[in-house]
């Protein structure tokens, strides 16, 4: 079963890099691990035959977000020199909370009758996503454009030189 092997290796990469993101002492290393986690997610999308989303994931997340986070770290952090502890004293509480939520969700998932086989694809998924976006979901799509414009204006407003 090549799909099973692919799924398990992607799961190991994803969980391992996600753990490295939250546990790494150096924030810069965290971002690099985040890039790996986002690429692993793109792999999961490929496994689910959503090629378009895998490409969008790589372009926007692994390309865009990682770049701006690196810029933010370079601006705000001393990369060399004194080390400040990156985690607060709530590690135990945080671990208990997230383990409890994982246990709750996994328990709920295991109780539900879920499909084990994928529905056969009837049409090209990329094509049907494009058609849905421009027919049934055209209003949310236009609103998304407004949101992007607002975010861009906001970022420019914040980044303006002080007067």
């Amino acid at each position: 079963m090549p799909e099973t092997i692919a799924f398990w290796s992607l799961a190991v990469v994803l969980v391992g890099s996600a753990l490295a993101v939250v546990l790494s002492k150096n924030l810069f290393h965290s971002v690099l691990w985040l890039a790996l986690a986002l690429t692993g997610t793109a792999g999961v999308f490929l496994l689910l035959e959503a090629e378009f989303l895998a490409a969008v994931q790589l372009l926007l997340y692994a390309g865009g977000i990682v770049t701006i986070v690196v810029f933010a770290i370079v601006v705000t952090e001393r990369l060399v020199g004194e080390r400040i502890t990156q985690t607060n004293r709530r590690i135990t509480a945080g671990a208990v909370t997230s383990l409890a939520i994982i246990a709750l969700v996994v328990n709920a998932i295991s109780r539900q009758p879920l499909p084990t086989t994928k529905e056969p694809l009837t049409a090209d998924l990329t094509r049907s996503i494009g058609e849905s976006v421009l027919t049934r979901f055209v209003l949310p799509f236009e609103l998304l454009g407004v949101l992007m414009l607002a975010a861009m204006l906001g970022a420019i407003y914040f980044a303006r030189p002080e007067d």
Binding site: V21, L48, I101, L114, F141
Partner: protein, 99 residues
């Protein structure tokens, strides 16, 4: 692999992201945790969509990815602005709203 395996993987990644949000002191670290959590949600949406044979979940994922990018851009802009004002990005030193 069944739908259950994908949902479990997403739940684990979500939990790890939540751990990051709760324990990081650095604001940028908190944002990285939020990115992980949103990423887990996207895995869920795509998995449900693929296993139910409908493309609605994937359209939602496109929207979710765009909104996440806008959120990250604004979040980092706010972090840089805070750094300009307070010279720190540690969340426990940021108490501007405490009267």
């Amino acid at each position: 692999m069944g739908l259950q395996a994908y949902l479990t993987l997403a739940a684990i990644v979500f939990g790890i992201g939540l751990f990051g949000v709760v324990t990081r002191r650095n604001t940028i670290g908190i944002l990285l945790g939020i990115e992980l959590m949103l990423n887990a949600v996207n895995i869920n949406l795509v998995a449900f969509s693929r296993f139910s044979g409908s493309d609605v979940g994937m359209v939602f994922t496109v929207f979710a990815i765009c909104i996440t990018v806008a959120e990250a851009a604004m979040g980092l802009a706010i972090v840089i602005l805070l750094f300009r004002i307070r010279r720190t990005v540690m969340a426990d030193h940021l108490d501007l709203l405490k009267g």
